[in-house]
Symmetry: C2
Subunit: 153 residues, 2 copies
């Protein structure tokens, strides 16, 4: 059980935008996290469709959060970006082969557990994720990092 | 984010064994759930290694739970059977490329959410999952179903 890379990187993009406090570009985000630009552009497409990020066009354009970071809950991001939460076959719509589907207690237990998972995520906003002082310092070192592409050591 | 089929079917096998109250066979479990025997044998291997199920050899042999069903918590089963809970790259051991790994709040938020997920699953035992009256009735109809292989409609 794990989140997709898509969701993971979407959260990272939102954190980056929240930390930068001015327009960000996919190119600098890709360099900062050492991730492929192409993949980040795909994720950006999803984030703009969901109205979590907006694009400013033009020569000095870039991207920024559509709302203040303290108004974007982590639970909302994961719920909307992650593709599916079908914990078991019986969460699916349509044909289900399990003969116990109408009566089994597993579905209810997993549904309650998933709700508890989201309840915790909803306690955090994107602003909370970048609140640690050192974390902000790392991001402020960005300008330096941007001048020399990050290399894996 | 979802559990693997392996975990899903492992829970179903445990529920079947708990309901049958005498020795079960992989063959009848496969027919009951309309699942491939080969896959269930693989899952059984894991369940016996984890000492959740034990095998009785001989002509009238079969499998049964190693402990009473009300002493096997769903959280334990999911924790031990599911292959990994690396919610994000930063849950992995070893090399992590994210420059925020030591300071980011996402890891902590996801860890707490995962703990809340397991806390709910730990409220349920395998016995709880099969407690519903109709569910038990479905399983008691097993003998009939066993005489005629179940067909998908």
């Amino acid at each position: 059980m794990k989140l997709t890379s898509h969701t993971n990187y979407a959260i990272r993009m939102l954190m980056f935008c929240a930390s930068k406090q001015e327009l960000a570009t996919v190119s600098e985000i890709a360099r900062f996290y050492d991730l492929p630009e192409k993949f980040l552009f795909k994720i950006l497409g999803g984030l703009t469709t969901l109205d979590l990020v907006e694009t400013v066009r033009g020569r000095n354009g870039g991207i920024r959060l559509s709302r203040p970071a303290d108004q974007i809950r982590l639970g909302e991001v994961v719920r909307r970006v992650e593709e599916n939460f079908e914990m078991a076959e019986c969460f699916k719509q349509g044909e289900i082969s399990c003969p116990l589907v109408a009566t089994c207690g597993m579905n209810g237990a997993l549904s309650r557990a998933l709700q508890a998972f989201f309840d915790v995520l909803d306690e955090y906003t994107i602003a909370d994720l970048i609140r640690k002082e050192h974390n902000i310092n790392v991001l402020l070192e960005l300008n330096l990092a941007m001048q020399e592409p990050l290399l894996r050591h």
